[in-house]
Symmetry: C2
DNA sequence: TCAGTTATTGTAAAAAGTTGCAATAAGGAA
DNA sequence: TTCCTTATTGCAACTTTTTACAATAACTGA
C-alpha cells in the first residue's frame, strides 16, 4: 500500500486535499520511521520534490500533527521533532549520553485514567518524553 | 530573604558565579511565579537591568534549567517557557480553550517508580504537560 | 586590597521559525 | 473534460533563537 493510498483518504475524510508537498512529507516521515526535525524533513523530502519550500514543511508538519497523522515530540533539544503516527508510545531519554528507550503507553494507562477521573479532562495526547540518567551514566556520577 | 541571599549560594556551591544578569532574571522568575517565555523574562528583567541583552536571557534560562533553579516547560505554544523551581508539579492543559490545571507530582510517583524499575534509568525531571479536553470543551464536541 | 584566572557577557552574524498576501492548483460539479 | 471555488503553496519580510569570538568582570589567592 502506497503512502498516497494510505493517507489521501484520511485527509479527504477531514475535508482536506492531498498535494505533492503533503505526500512528499508524509512519505519522508513514513519511511524514516523515527523523529525528524523540520529541517531534516525538508532536506529528505527535497529529493522527491525539489520545488518544496521550508515554509511549507513547517506548515505541513503542524497541519499533520493537528490532524493526527504525525506526532510532535520534545526530545530535549528545545526544538520540536515529528514522527509519523503509528502506535501509542512515550520516550525515556538520558540527560547525559542521550540514550533513548521507548515506553509502552500501556504503562501509563492507569495514570491517564486517574488523571481523567480527578480532573474531568479527557486526555488526548500520548507522546511524552521522560528525562533521567541511564544506568551507565548513573555510575559516572559522584 | 532576598533573591541574592537565596540563589547566590546555590550557584556558588556548583562552582558558578552570581552576576547582575542572573540575579535580575532569577528575581523576575521568582516574583512573577508562573511560566514566562524568554521574551517576557527579557522585558520584565530589563526594568531592573537596562543593559541586559536577549542573548544573555536565552543563555541564562538554559543555564538555570540545567542547574535546577528553573524548570522549563512545553505548554503547547511550541515555545519553551520557564518558571522558578519551587515544588514538583505537572500540568494539564485543554487543547481547545487553554484552561490549565496543576497536577501534583504525588499522582505520578508510582509511575515514576515503575519506569525506573523497568528501565534502570533514574528519572530526574518532574514537569510534564498533559494535553486534553476540559469538561466544558468536551460538551462542545459532536 | 590588588592581580590573575577564567566564567560570563555583549556584539554581530547566522540559522530557525513565523506571517501576510498574491498566485496556484486540488477536487467537486456541470 | 472543463470550469469554479477555495484550500494550499511560494515568496518576501519579519521575529525568534543560536553561535562564535573578543571584551568584561566575578571570584580566588596573595
Ligand atoms: Mn516517538
Ligand atoms: Mn509549572
Ligand atoms: Zn546515559
Ligand atoms: Zn477547554
Amino acid at each position: 500500500m502506497s503512502c498516497a493510498d494510505e493517507y489521501t483518504p484520511q485527509l479527504r475524510a477531514r475535508g482536506y486535499r492531498m498535494t505533492p508537498q503533503r505526500l512528499a512529507i508524509l512519505h519522508t516521515l513514513h519511511h524514516s520511521g523515527g523523529h525528524l526535525s523540520p529541517t531534516e524533513v525538508y532536506e529528505k523530502a527535497l529529493t522527491q520534490l525539489p520545488s518544496l519550500t521550508e515554509t511549507t514543511v513547517y506548515r505541513t508538519l503542524e497541519f499533520l500533527a493537528e490532524n493526527g497523522l504525525a506526532h510532535p515530540a520534545h526530545m530535549g533539544s528545545g526544538h520540536l521533532v515529528y514522527e509519523i503516527a503509528h502506535h501509542e508510545h512515550h520516550h525515556l531519554k538520558c540527560r547525559v549520553c542521550g540514550a533513548e528507550l521507548e515506553v509502552n503507553h500501556t504503562l501509563l494507562k492507569s495514570l491517564y485514567r486517574q488523571l481523567e477521573l480527578a480532573s474531568g479532562y479527557r486526555l488526548t495526547d500520548s507522546h511524552l518524553t521522560f528525562f533521567g540518567l541511564c544506568p551507565t551514566c548513573q555510575k559516572g556520577e559522584n
